[in-house]
């Protein structure tokens, strides 16, 4: 009964309208099942999740936004989505419905520019966080993001990280659990192995694989166009 009530509640909330934005999911049950595994981690103290994809980058952006919607239904108020590029995928559509704000969580009173979507989450651009002189250590980054209950990292393509790992060091250290989004027929086994090996070498806890469908690519393109 509890699961059913949660499901009904989620459906109502998933169709929420932060101002005028409306999300309609094709696979509610899959989202709930996926979200539940992450929520169990959250209850055990994990609050920084990273998402990387092999083969099809849009899939990880959909996963991040979808999970953010789910965690809202779970009552998490402050959710941060940190992405490398806010100009692709669903982000432009979300940004349309957001307003810019500056927040400051750390002692140094360093302010971060965020795009706050009403009643949903804050979109944060990754580059300023990693390249600012004020945030040099992982401790400072943690402090900066301490005002968020949950941080979802939309990790840049891994070859980008591999090229200059020192730039992304703080991000890697901040991620407590990493999930790899694999798109059948686009992701190659070797690449999955390399990504897996890369993050394992840095001691990142790999949570598991999230499967995406190749068929959704066209829909994503349509969504981008409409955005």
């Amino acid at each position: 009964m509890t699961a059913r009530n949660d499901s009904l509640k989620a459906e109502n909330i998933l169709a929420f309208k932060p101002k005028t934005i409306k999300f309609e999911f094709e696979n509610h049950s899959e989202l709930f099942r996926l979200g539940e595994t992450f929520y169990q981690d959250i209850t055990s103290g994990v609050n920084s999740f990273g998402f990387s994809s092999i083969g099809y980058e849009m899939s990880q952006k959909r996963t991040v936004v979808g999970l953010a919607c789910y965690f809202k239904t779970k009552g998490l108020k402050n959710i941060a989505i940190i992405a490398d590029d806010l100009g692709v995928g669903l982000y432009p559509e979300l940004i349309k419905h957001s307003h810019p704000e500056q927040i400051s969580c750390s002692i140094k009173q360093y302010q971060i520019d965020v795009k706050r979507i009403h009643g949903h989450s804050d979109l944060i651009h990754l580059a300023p966080l990693l390249q600012t002189k004020e945030i040099e250590t992982i401790k400072e980054l943690k402090g900066l993001l301490s005002c968020y209950d949950l941080v979802l990292w939309d990790i840049p393509p891994w070859h980008k990280i591999q090229t200059s790992p020192e730039v992304y060091m703080n991000m890697i250290h901040h991620i407590q659990s990493l999930s790899l989004v694999v798109t059948p027929s686009l992701s190659s086994q070797e690449e999955v192995k390399r990504v897996h090996q890369f993050f394992s070498d840095y001691g990142v806890n790999l949570k598991g694989f999230i499967l995406d469908s190749y068929k959704k690519k066209k829909k994503d393109l349509d969504l981008e166009k409409s955005a």
Partner: protein
Amino acid sequence: MKKLSIFFHDQTILNLPFLFRLMTRYYIISTSLVLLVISYTTYRFLVQKTFYSAEMIINLHSNETVSPLATMPLPFGGSSSKTLDDEIIMIPQSRSYRKAVAQRLIKLEDFNSIDLRTSENDDYQDLKGQCKENQQCLSTLVIDRLPNFLKIESTAKSPTGYYFVISTFDQQATKILADIGSQVLLARRREMLVKHSQEQIRVNQEVLSGHQEELREKNFNQMTEDLRQLKSELASIQSRFPQTFSLFQQKRLEFESITQLHTTVQEQESLKLDMQHIGEKDRLTKLQNSIEKLKGDINSLELSFRTPELMDSIIIKDLRKDLSNKLAEFNSMKSGGVVVGSSNQNIPSHRNTQLEYNVISEQFLRISAEYDQILNSAKETAYKISVLENAIQKLEPVNQLIKQMEKRILELTVSASTIVSDIGFADTEATYRSFKRITLIKYVLFTIFSTVFLTLLAVTLRYLLDRKIYDVYELENNFSNLPIIGTAPSFKNVA
């Protein structure tokens, strides 16, 4: 290795669900291959030429083969039926048969319209054109092709076990070949049998002449003739023997009587003489006893052999010789004045007795000599006969073999002149039919198997070369240490 191991399964050996999944995954390859194979096989089936065949039942006129060649394995424990099979089945393959058929074919008016191609790509017409009506060339061309059209099959379907099968690409050619081929087949079979018989006769004659030469070298005929003469001679001797023997007996008895009488007379005469030789009396007595004993033996022998045979006569002859020696000794001692026994008062005069003794003694000696000559002659002839018979007996097996072979040659010669073919064709019409070399069902089966095989091969290779991940199954198989959490969310609409 992980990629390969996924193809195998503990229970089913091959991981069939995965293979099927691969076929659906690489559906373009699978579909293309299926279409390709089906198209190819359909095309091959449609373009293959139709065969026109005729089948004629061959009858064996006798269960027992008359073929000389077929009977050859019998003495060695072999089976004649197998040889007969080979003989009949191989007829269409023989060059002489093909040559005969080819020559009759070439003489036909329709020869140019007959299609004798052995395959769809055969350049028969070009080769025929190159021959330019050269009979030798055309004959060679046809001879080389005939084995493809004509054959005899040993099959249980036929009541007699044989079918004469003709198959060509041309209906007309099939009919003509059935007609000519069957006629030549019967003629060829008869020729074969005649040839085999003649060959057997020739071989028998060669062997026979060898044995005859052997006998000739050993003068077998002369030996036989000598034996015959010797036997005749012995028979003549034997025919003369009883008469001589009875005469000899008669003279001997006379001689013995006169000898006894003469002895008695001489004893009478010797009483007057001094008994100076009394010491020899005992010796004379012993000699006389010995003579009496010999006489008794001879008499008893002669009485026991009513029909005196040759060997018995020889024994008697020896005894008699001994007797005459002892008598001579006895007489010489007595002539010296020794008297044995008591005196006889009724003794004839000495002169008469002496005369009679001399006459009978002479007669006896003459008949005895004649008797001895007959016995010696018989003995010698019997010995010669024995020697010749031994020699002839050694050569007798060869002589018997020669007689048997002469008989066999005579039989073969008679049979060779009256040989007919031991096979014939049934009165029923030849069965004509048309068919494709590879039937539809074979093509369908081939298509199914080749499609499955090629598709599986292609998708397997494609999979092994493919570096992409396609489904949960593969992901779990290749990254078993990481769980699959779920599925990425998908948006219907964002507005």
